[in-house]
């Protein structure tokens, strides 16, 4: 993927009521582009089938691996 330009970073900022200019703009672009690129690069098979599980810890009783039923 191509990097977001500084102008595009400013537009994204405007969408969330942030006016981003130098001296921050260049560094904000480095951070945003690096993070987006790193996330985009991950192509993990099965991701699309992943359940939308909340962030909390699964109960101890459900620690068995996926698909394995408790006896």
């Amino acid at each position: 993927m191509s990097d977001l330009s500084k102008a595009e970073i400013q537009v994204l900022g405007k969408a969330v009521q942030l006016h981003i200019n130098e001296p921050e703009l260049t560094e904000v672009a480095y951070h945003a582009n690096a993070l987006l690129e790193a996330m985009e690069a991950i192509r993990e098979p099965g991701l699309e089938a992943m359940e939308h599980v909340p962030i909390v810890v699964p109960p101890l009783g459900s620690l068995a691996s996926p698909g394995k039923k408790k006896g």
């Binding site: 990097d3 970073i9 994204l12 900022g13 969330v16 009521q17 942030l18 981003i20 921050e24 560094e27 904000v28 672009a29 480095y30 951070h31 945003a32 582009n33 690096a34 993070l35 987006l36 690129e37 790193a38 996330m39 690069a41 991950i42 993990e44 099965g46 991701l47 992943m50 359940e51 939308h52 599980v53 962030i55 909390v56 810890v57 699964p58 101890l60 620690l63 068995a64 691996s65 996926p66 394995k68």
Partner: protein
Amino acid sequence: MAASDIHYLSAGELGRRIHKKEISPSEAVKAYLDRTEKLQPTYHAYITVNKEEAMEQAKVLDKEAAAGKFRGPLHGVPVAIKDPVGVKGWPSTGGSRIFKDNVVNQDSTIARKLKEAGAVIIAKANMTEMGIAETTEFPWGTPKNPWNHDRSTGSSSAGSGAATAAFMCAASLGGDTGGSIRIPASYCGLVGLRPSFGRVSRHGVMTVTWSMDTIGPMTRTVEDTALMTQAIAGYDPNDRYTYDAPVPDYTASFSRGIKGLRVGVIKELIEAEQVDKEVAAAVKTAVKKLHDLGAKVEEVSLPMVLHSGPIHWVICYSEFGTTYRDIIRTRARELTHMVRIAVLAGSLLPAQSYYKALLLREMLRRQVLAAFDRFDVLVSPTMPTAAMERAKSVHTESKDMVSSWVTGPVRMTAPFSHANTPALSVPCGMTSERLPIGLQIVGKPLDEETVLRAGHAYEQATDWHTLRPPGV
């Protein structure tokens, strides 16, 4: 024992001597406050020190001890806690000048529990601004690593690390989102435990990344970490994410040893290119020691951990970008440079990136939890290197610079934040530059007991925990 040597005792040993009335709580607290007064200008370990309240509390505990009443093994033991943990009447700044006047009007659950356990809170520890770990700017002074003042203490719980390693408190609490307890513990030669998410209440604690923030101990021995965890763990009706699960007697399990314990050595984290040769060698020696103590050791592959850096930072940036949304709009100029950049960038990440990171976190979590079908604990280096040199610049010079830390050292610790498992760092060696190395021991969710038992068995079979930083 001379008053000038009290600070060298572990928290557990100090508590035992107080119980035997060989040392009074007031003597213990005064010894640490005197030492703090002497060393704080060098180490910048604390943001707030409250001598008067600490001595008042110590005198109450003196009276109780004289009457034969002891609240527990921490009765009269002086401790420091990371700044975001609220203490009634004390400021909670979260490491930021923006919150310098944020005096809280009630104890956090953690502070209340520590006081009920007899611990005396003498100070609140320094940290990176807002707990954002990748910054190197400390508005309240840069904490120094007692092992080498030019090296990083690790972050974000840098003050807790410096204070505990410099014997400015008997034990401390840090905060761990992606490794902020374990990293400074590893760099400063300490024991540090990230408890399971939901094991320790966060009621009254300032937020950084709400879906992964935890509070846990940083101490000089595994026993001390067990005692501190014992004091602060448990269900809290004020924090609906805490688990209503029994809290075992952690030190009681130590006598069981680790014979038969199934230990998985995480292949991807010990063989990674970025792991320093001395670190890898120290961890392999530690693994052999676990084997010699009776553990059954095997290698385990967890390839998803290789993605944990990007997963971690996208979640963190997105969540702290939201946490600090008002501040970045109204008081951005009062933030330090790196925090301002990080919060601005976090505010821009699209929902789809955050959501992908959440799904990947779940995939990673499942892989880690599945490993516990075969193993009781997993082990790895805590960090790929010993303490690094402190960064000279606060500026980001290129996208590549960000990419390198996005995929960098946090991949060692963050996977277990994502899996919501307890993870302990325990000293396991020294580099040729006399810098500490940490061994990470990870357990099943809510199974701090086994993690601590394994750490204790290893610690007692080695002498790394007895080493002191030069000149301290």
